[in-house]
Symmetry: none
DNA sequence: TATGAATGAGGATTCATTCAT
DNA sequence: AATGAATGAATCCTCATTCAT
């Protein structure tokens, strides 16, 4: 079980976690090599299987680990900000900060989303579903929806905005591939998109560009 | 070569193609088992390698096969329709029709897009690049962009619409997972989204829900 | 059986024989590909197995074929020449002539001698033994052994000469590898070796260099 | 690498080495079956590939192994012996002793010399070239060539003697095939050949049969 | 008689997992 | 608790041989 793994020194634990995240992120579940992990982590073959009974258990542990990191995003957000677009920008920035801190975790998660291995797909999908639902729930907390035009279906409008944000994020990710160089440019471009959306979906008095 | 495969009876060819599409869609390139394919297709171990010299060649053949199916979409579209949203609906419907005819091909393509295997990634990326460029080119052919508001950046606006369409399609796919039962409902829902977008992005005189 | 093969047109027979000789010479028994043979010969897969029940039978047929070619060597020699060294030179020259006519047969034979495949080794060894014994028997026919010194064991002396000839031939083969460019030089060098041997093993009155 | 293999118990290492030598000697590089080796050695399928990454590496290891055995021959010879024939006899005897100790190694080497597999041919040829050059160099070390007649080309004379020795060795090997029973007889026969050669090639004062 | 598609045993190699130390 | 050698099922692929046409 994990009790044995938990009792390890923090440094060793991190070494193992990072080695495993990296390997799974690079190669996907099935192709990831336990040999690669133990080599990178500098531990013995048997040890890995002492800590985690098998590959799947290790993968699921990591899935749980990154979930906690994602939770960090939400715990850091300023839930008093009531403007929908400002909240989105804020969360985007925090995501980015955390990415710089735990890059492997993000690469792992990115890979997990498109993971095809039947052995773990179910768990990943459940996690994603959960993440999305609680994410939306928390993401919409304290938002002042009264700024939106009342002649448009609010649910649909927020969907359009979310899809736009998602599409934009995807586009940026494809463009940079490693989040190293992105900063102000990306934010500026998002600002422009935000303004278009605001002008369309907000009541006229809230359309100011600030 | 494929000459031997081409000479097979249509029924057998389809059995093999579908078995392979299914296996690759489920497991990805590397983990897909040729054993699984021949078992599902009901052919002998060696036969598959008579038809295709190796796994990669088989995969590339399938990639070509689905490309042709995608081309079918465009060849069936009415390129005289100048309204952006009507064109999108039309292509969406055709896509859907073809999906019902070749469901595995779509799952295969979906998987291919996020395929990580280095052995075939180059080919996939080339194909995608080609698909996107000719796709956009053809997709925007004859569109009357003068209907759009001139005070908004047209490029960004079309991006928002495309992301919305993509996000909506994804949502529907996740919802139904097998496209068996969806029809009018989906179209109605898209119509509603379309109307919101039209009201926001078209000049006022074109916002009629026609 | 071979009756079916025998009834083939000469041209086709030769095409098949040469293709097979070439393939076996290049790749050895086990690694030789029946596919390679039928492709080179321009016949159908099944045909080869109509003519010869299996790979081994084909190989054995070729072994027999080249044996007949070797017999040609002896049938062409001038058996009235009684000088041991002149006879050797003569046979060497004839060998060389025939090599130029049937190069594949020689390459095949060369490869056969060092063939390791257990499936055919027995037959090859029997053939070689037979070739050597009848070869020696015929090679020594009509030779005037009275020219040799009587104080040396004749059997041993002829052995030494044969080993020298063999060693020399081997050396030349390694040097040229394809018998294309060898001619006078080789003969001259052999002449020199012959003279040394003559001076040692012939009675003094026969040591003249011609 | 070989570190894992090196750490094995001597008995197991020898079992594997001998099994592999035997298989490669019998079947040649390409046709040699790793299955055959592991079966003969009594180890698991995967183990062989733990010790040696692949077939080629195993083969190259064996090539190195037999080279060391050959070096043993030279390290045991008495390099103060200046008589050419005595030196040859001596090395011949040592070779024979070692053959009795490592029969498979000799069969392996014999096969290697005529190995056709392109995958290992380069390495074999390099080894042979090295073996021959250092072999000749060491073999002729301290030899008193002044014993030879000066009216004969020394280079050619030594060649004749070497070819004779080689031919004789080959003859003996073919005769006994397992070297179990040969001893004094062979030496006696070689002595007789030596005497003939000495009487022909040495200056008269050194022809004593001692 | 000639064909070539179909077969399947066998090839080398990989890798998660076990277990004696 | 930690180790790493041993395992063997599963991987893709080859090829001599068969057999229906």
């Amino acid at each position: 079980m994990n009790s044995q793994f938990d009792n390890l020194k923090t440094e060793k634990k991190e070494r193992i976690i990072n080695a495993a995240l990296k390997e799974f992120a690079q190669s996907g579940y099935e192709k990831a090599s336990t040999n690669g992990i133990i080599k990178e982590a500098g531990i013995a073959k048997g040890s890995l299987f002492n800590y985690f009974n098998n590959k799947k258990e290790l993968y699921l542990f990591l899935l749980d680990y990154v979930t906690k990191i994602i939770d960090e995003i939400y715990s850091k957000a300023d839930w008093n900000e009531t403007d929908f677009f400002k909240r989105m920008s804020q969360i985007g920035c925090i995501k980015f900060e955390i990415y710089k801190k735990y890059p492997q975790a993000f690469d792992f998660m990115k890979r997990a989303v498109s993971e095809g291995a039947t052995e773990v797909r179910t768990e990943i999908e459940a996690l994603i579903k959960n993440l999305i639902s609680t994410g939306l729930e928390r993401g919409y907390q304290n938002i002042d929806f009264s700024k939106f035009r009342t002649d448009l279906d609010l649910e649909k409008v927020t969907k359009i905005i979310n899809w736009t944000a998602l599409g934009f994020a995807e586009e940026q990710r494809d463009k940079v591939n490693s989040f190293q160089d992105v900063t102000a440019d990306v934010l500026d471009e998002w600002e422009e998109l935000s303004n278009i959306l605001k002008r369309c979906f907000y009541k006229q008095e809230y359309c100011g560009d600030d």
